[in-house]
């Protein structure tokens, strides 16, 4: 369960304070697929970053499974991410100096998983990139890089998958492939999926859709279908 309680995020913009998120509160039950949409600058990515503990809110609190992450130290946050959260970025953020296989392996090694190599190999198989494991990110296409990123995000069997515009840098065919893959892994692993996207088509396939406008929740709707 993810709980946001009156979360506000303000940053300095020159000499002024700029409010990116304003008093946002909602809960996401385990296993739910939530899409977050909104215009550029509406605070979508910031919201995702705060949930992942990549940044701290200026005000309010965030709970993961009932535990506040706001008061956590950097190392505790890192530990929480390692155990509970997977993240997929728009620009993939693979480590360029590591091969595809090693990129998937890294979170397993951080966690100290005993069967790290076997699991990484299985994950590569899941994203159908076994034969590209020894390639470096620069040798992979955008779609392939994002598939590696998804495999990496699922490496430690996280309870939560946060995806920040995962198809934003891909063409429609690759985008669709990636989205399907995410859904497939979401279903298979029963993870909570929060997807930030501009694509209304993709957003509409979620169980629940939150729309942000100027840092506030404009609408929060449960959709009637399940994708």
């Amino acid at each position: 369960m993810i709980t946001l309680s009156n979360v506000t995020k303000t940053v300095k913009s020159g000499s002024d304070d700029l409010t990116i998120l304003n008093d946002v509160s909602f809960e996401v039950p385990d296993g739910q697929f939530v899409s977050v949409t909104g215009a550029s600058g509406s605070g979508k990515s910031t919201l995702l970053g705060l949930i992942a503990g990549l940044d701290a809110p200026t005000d309010g609190d965030i709970y993961i499974d009932g535990e506040s992450i706001v008061a956590m130290t950097e190392d505790e946050l890192a530990d929480t991410r390692s155990k509970k959260i997977g993240f997929v970025f728009q620009s993939f953020h693979l480590i360029p100096s590591l091969t595809a296989f090693e990129n998937v392996l890294i979170p397993l090694e951080i966690k100290g998983a005993a069967d790290a190599k076997e699991r990484a190999a299985r994950l590569l198989e899941d994203v159908e990139l076994t034969n590209r494991g020894h390639h470096y990110p620069s040798e992979l296409s955008g779609g392939e890089q994002q598939r590696i990123a998804i495999a990496r995000a699922f490496a430690n069997r996280p309870a939560i998958l946060l995806a920040d515009e995962p198809t934003g840098n891909l063409d429609s065919k690759n985008g669709s492939h990636i989205f399907d893959l995410m859904l497939q892994m979401h279903d298979a692993n029963d993870v909570t999926l929060i997807l930030v996207t501009h694509d209304h088509g993709l957003a509409a396939r979620a169980e629940r859709q939150i729309v942000l406008v100027d840092g506030s929740v404009d609408s929060d709707d449960l959709l009637t279908h399940k994708s």
Partner: protein, 841 residues
């Protein structure tokens, strides 16, 4: 831990090219330090361990005025009671003039003559051509064994006759190496003759020129016996030297040299450390996203930092190991280059301890200099993957960094003190380095500020080049610091050399005689004067000299039990050549007291040279007693004199008031100023020796050549070390260029897209490195001039002159080097296709 090790392994695999400069910086630094330490360590072992062979005995009783019967009996009384004496002999040494016996030859040569008796040597051996053994029979019946060079100098061969003093000798052979080795600075080739023949040739007649030694070989440690002898010989000017003390003294000297050279090595290593710091700084900048990703995936800041520190440590270890290999190669090169000058028994291997120490230093320097940049890893926030907004925070200094900085400095101080063998010297080294770096850095800062003001001038290429020098993340100051420091060291040494060489340039000092003649007897003065006048057309300056030894100061005898007096025994216990005259000489200046008036009568008086007055703590009014041919003469110190050595023909320490020494046995010394060609010099020497065989001649040109050779070797050695500093600077330059390559590639891609041709881009590149080289060269050259001025005037007390050709050559060479290296390292940038670059951004 597994994650840390795996990450380290992968990072090394992927980043080794980028960190190659890091590796090389450490390798060069460690290589220098290990090579210098090993060289001195091995030399110390070879020479120090061979102190017995150097002395050619276990202990020696040394005299420079012969042995009186009383002294001999005192020595014998101690020796007779000892059961450890195995063998004894006596030797005599002096300088003399040698010339071929055949008439018509104009050759004449100053030689270093040694009269020996069997068994010689007591310790060590002659090395004769063809591996033959030295046979004492070679010296029988006026035979001589000579250094091979003398055959060339006199144009004679084995079997020919030569004249030394008043005797004729047959050259019976040459030696390749004499017992005890060359023994350092020596004027004239060595000639061995029998001790009896030495005396017969009339050379020993002037005892003050002869050094006489009694040598002993013992079957056990001679220290106790030496102590006994010293006790027995108290109150005499005889010196007792044991090989063990020589060994200790040499050991101390070598240790000091080793420590100072280690500091030079440490300077290179610290410069390498600057390179490491620069690489680590840019490395962390470039790794920010990777660090953010790792943090995003759950890795803690400390874990990541540990992985990078481990990576640095591993590279430091490998770089240091490579440095040890370089040091070994350097030692092998030293063997092939300086084999003749270095002892045969010297080892050319890097000692295990030295290598271990070098590796330890390399790892420490790597970690110390990369610790601060790596601390930035802690501040990298994972949210930069979403928004790159923590730059400001990234750049600010936090307390942890301040503390880490102070700890690094303290550790550096410990390292410097360890290498220098002294906390104070280590501290001075570090402060000196910090001040030099700060001054160079500040100069670089001012120059960049000045260039910024200029950026609106000049062509497009020039403007772009100037812009590049202060673009964000530029390496300008670091490069200026590193290359400027290298140029500074090399140019400072060169500048000092030119001033030193000029100081010894005998053609410049018109008052420096071209010849000195000693031991001219009263009866020979007129003939000698006439001969010189006829040969050169110049009247020689002839001054009376009397041999005198200090016996009492203010009524107190010189006490050789006193440690200070004993240490200065060579300087104050020797026999002085003193003179008397009524006037101050040109180039002399009175510092204290008064010069005597001819008409005034009173106490016998003496004028003392300032340096000796300082050594003896003498003031005007003090009394001194001299032993002159067994007669005591007490005089009052009338004044203290200063001598301008650049403007004088003679340099007497003691000048007496006329009248005091009128009846003393004296000889005359002469000097002439006229510069003549080598053949005329030879002829004059030959003519003088033919007519006055007892006269000793010093050809100043030969001395100057020897001194210049020593200075040149000294400068060569320092320049060699300086070139390592330059090499480190160049490495940092290339490293810096490579580190900023991606930024340059992107800028070039944009410029190409906007229509810039490769020629324009090349011009920008050349202009950028040309300006950088110019600034580094200017900074190095200006500070080099300043340092050479300070050292010349305040330390060496020599005349200083700015060497402008060196200044401009130095600047030009630096510009050329930096332009060449910088452009060569960046040439790949010009060849990249812009589209691929722009798409990858």
């Amino acid at each position: 831990m597994k994650f840390i090790l795996n990450l380290t392994k992968r990072e090394i695999r992927s980043s080794w090219k980028r960190l190659l400069f890091f590796f090389l910086c450490i390798a060069i630094g460690v290589g220098s330090i290990v090579a210098l330490r090993s060289l001195i360590g091995n030399l110390s072992q070879a020479v120090g361990g061979d102190a017995r062979a150097l002395l050619t005995a276990d202990f020696v009783v040394d005299s420079n005025k012969g042995f009186s019967p009383t002294e001999i009996s005192r020595i014998e009384s101690v020796i007779e009671d000892s059961s450890i004496i195995e063998a004894r002999n006596e030797i005599m040494e002096s300088s003399a003039m040698a010339r071929p016996a055949q008439s018509g030859s104009e050759k004449v040569q100053f030689v270093s003559l040694k009269g020996i008796e069997p068994p010689f040597p007591l310790v060590g051996n002659f090395e004769m051509p063809g591996g033959k053994k030295f046979d004492f029979d070679l010296l029988e019946n006026r035979g001589a064994v000579v250094a091979p060079i003398l055959l060339e100098e006199l144009d004679v061969k084995v079997g020919d006759k030569i004249l030394i003093g008043e005797s004729e000798f047959i050259v019976r052979g040459t030696f390749e190496k004499e017992p005890g080795g060359s023994g350092g600075f020596r004027l004239g080739a060595r000639v061995f003759i029998k001790k009896d023949a030495f005396e017969e040739a009339g050379i020993a007649r002037n005892r003050s020129r002869v050094r006489q030694r009694i040598l002993y070989r013992t079957s056990a440690n001679p220290t106790a016996l030496v102590e006994q002898l010293r006790e027995k010989l108290k109150g005499t000017s005889l010196r007792v030297l044991s090989y063990r003390e020589t060994q200790e003294r040499l050991g101390e000297q070598f240790e000091r040299t080793e420590n100072y050279l280690s500091l030079t090595g440490l300077l290179i290593l610290v410069l390498g450390g600057v390179g490491v710091w620069n690489v680590a700084r840019v490395f962390v900048e470039q790794k920010r996203k990777a660090v953010a990703v790792l943090k995003c995936l759950g890795a803690g800041g400390n874990t990541i930092m540990l992985a990078y520190l481990l990576q640095i440590g591993v590279l430091g270890l490998l770089g240091s190991a490579f440095g040890v290999l370089l040091a070994q190669i350097g030692l092998w090169s030293a063997r092939s280059a300086f084999n003749d000058a270095l002892p045969d028994t010297m080892s050319y291997s890097v000692a295990f301890g030295t290598a271990f120490q070098g590796i330890l230093l390399g790892i420490f320097i790597s970690l110390l200099f990369s610790a601060l940049p790596l601390l930035q890893v802690r501040n990298i926030k994972p949210n930069l993957l979403l928004r790159d907004d923590n730059n400001d925070e990234f750049r600010t200094l936090d307390p942890v960094k301040w503390i880490a900085g102070i700890v690094c400095l303290l550790l550096l101080l410990v390292l410097a003190s360890w290498q220098a063998g002294s906390f104070v010297v280590g501290g001075f080294f570090l402060v000196g380095l910090a001040v030099t770096s700060a001054v160079l850095y500040f100069a670089a800062f001012v120059l960049i500020w000045f260039l910024r003001k200029l950026k609106k001038f000049g062509s497009f290429s020039l403007s772009q080049a100037l812009n590049s020098l202060h673009r964000p993340g530029n390496q300008t100051k670091v490069i200026l610091l590193a290359v400027g420091l290298g140029a500074f060291v090399v140019l400072a040494v060169q500048s000092l050399e030119s001033n030193l060489v000029r100081e010894f340039d005998f053609s410049r000092n018109q008052r420096l005689p071209s010849f000195f003649f000693f031991d001219i007897q009263q009866s020979q003065v007129a003939g000698f004067d006439k001969l010189v006048l006829e040969s050169l057309g110049e009247k020689a300056e002839i001054v009376p000299t009397v041999r005198a030894r200090i016996s009492h100061l203010n009524g107190e005898p010189l006490n050789y039990d006193n440690r200070d007096v004993r240490q200065q025994q060579g300087q104050i216990g020797r026999e002085f050549a003193v003179t008397y005259r009524s006037d101050l000489d040109e180039g002399e200046e009175l510092l204290e007291g008064f010069w005597w008036d001819e008409t005034e009568t009173g106490l016998p008086q003496v004028s003392v040279l300032d340096s000796m007055a300082e050594t003896l703590k003498l003031n005007p009014g003090d009394s001194m007693t001299f032993d002159i041919s067994g007669r005591s003469v007490t005089v009052q110190v009338a004044n203290i004199r200063k001598l301008d050595v650049r403007n004088t023909r003679t340099a007497f320490v003691f000048v007496f008031r006329p009248g005091v020494l009128d009846d003393a046995p004296k000889s005359f010394a002469a000097n002439i100023l006229k510069r003549v060609p080598a053949n005329q010099r030879q002829r004059l020497q030959r003519d003088v020796i033919d007519r006055f065989p007892n006269v000793q001649i010093v050809d100043v040109a030969e001395i100057v050549a020897v001194v210049q050779k020593i200075v040149e070797n000294f400068v060569l050695a320092i320049s060699f070390v300086g070139s390592f500093v330059i090499l480190s600077g160049i490495l940092i330059l290339i490293g810096s260029v490579s580190l900023t390559k991606s930024q340059r590639v992107y800028e070039n891609a944009v410029l190409k897209t906007l229509g810039a041709k490769r020629r324009t881009l090349s011009a920008i590149l050349v202009a950028e490195y040309g300006i950088l080289g110019l600034m580094a060269g200017l900074i190095g050259a200006v500070f080099a001039l300043a340092l050479s001025y300070a050292v010349s005037v305040y330390i060496l007390d020599i005349e200083w002159q700015a060497n402008l050709s060196l200044f401009f050559t130095g600047v030009f060479v630096t510009v050329a080097l930096v332009t060449l290296c910088g452009t060569a390292a960046s040439v790949g940038v010009l060849l990249k296709k812009p589209l691929a670059t722009l798409r990858s951004q």
